[in-house]
Amino acid sequence: MNHDLTTATLAFGGTAASLAAYWLWMRWRGPRLEAAAARRPPARDGPGGPP
């Protein structure tokens, strides 16, 4: 029995969905991490930051 359409749908759909999810996750998480890092004072010998 031939499952050509199912296989093609699973392959192309799965690839597109995975790549889109990975991209969205990084687009969402990246700026949040950056903002959190900017709020933290530098580790040592750095200028500024709250006492």
Binding site: N2, A8, A11, Y22, M26, R29, G30, L33, A36
Partner: protein, 245 residues
């Protein structure tokens, strides 16, 4: 200035990858001014003509995996040589993006292999997973899975960086090994359509060859974009870990 350049590159590669991928999808399924959409429905021995359109996705996924692992390999050597975060952080980003692309290459390859390589009397999955190139890629995938795991498990930064670099170099060996298996081993089911030693039975038309080349360009751009996105996250994670220490 460096951060600005990187942000510009990130955005540029993103739009470039999106345009290239949309064009690729269009040309895979519909006619373009340059040629007719590849169609194997009338080809005698092709049982899965729709799945065969993975020709413009699966090799490109494998190619971009190789690009990512080559980047990881080079940065791992640099990180071993100069023990700073300068090379360690981008090596880790490239390895993670490579692992995602590697997983998708295996996923699409498994589905395609089940359709095209299944022979009566033997399990389709067994046929796919005893093929030499697939075995090499599975070992490579496992090595990079170990790479990502030990990145999470080892706490001490210097030791983590050293160990990861060793795994990055080791895992990279799968790239030349995978390229060579289908060319050197007669048992291989993978048809070679490009490069020296290409199989004359697997010849492509000029337009199909063009689409294949285009898919490599599109997925290389996609890798650059994903790598830059991941790098931004990794740098912020490093800064947070440093501040917490």
């Amino acid at each position: 200035v460096k951060a600005q350049t990187e942000a510009r590159l990130r955005s540029l590669s993103g739009w470039g990858a999106l345009a290239a991928l949309l064009l690729l999808i269009w040309a895979t399924w519909w006619d373009t001014p340059l040629g007719r959409a590849p169609d194997w429905t009338a080809t005698a021995d092709v049982t899965a003509p729709l799945t065969r359109k993975l020709l413009f996705t699966h090799p490109a996924l494998a190619w971009s995996t190789f690009v990512a692992y080559i980047v990881t390999f080079s940065l791992s050597i640099a990180a071993l040589n100069e023990r700073t975060r300068r090379f360690d952080t981008p090596a880790r980003s490239a390895a993670e993006v490579g692992f995602v692309l590697n997983t998708l290459a295996l996923y699409t390859g498994t589905l395609w292999g089940i359709q095209e390589w299944s022979r009566s009397g033997s399990s389709a999955l067994a046929t796919v997973y005893t093929e030499p190139k697939v075995l090499v890629v599975v070992v490579m995938w496992l090595t990079f899975a170990a790479y990502l795991l030990l990145r999470r498990l080892v706490d001490e930064p210097a030791r983590r960086s050293r160990l990861a670099a060793a795994f990055g170099i080791l895992g990279f060996l799968g790239v030349p090994a995978s390229y060579l298996t289908s060319r050197l081993l007669a048992k291989s089911l993978h048809p070679d359509v490009v490069g020296p030693g290409a199989n004359p039975d697997a010849q492509l038309g000029a337009y199909e060859g063009l689409l294949l080349a285009w898919s490599f360009v599109a997925f290389t751009l996609l890798f650059v974009h994903l790598h830059l996105l991941r790098l931004r996250m990794a740098r912020a994670q490093d800064a947070l870990a440093e501040a917490a220490a």
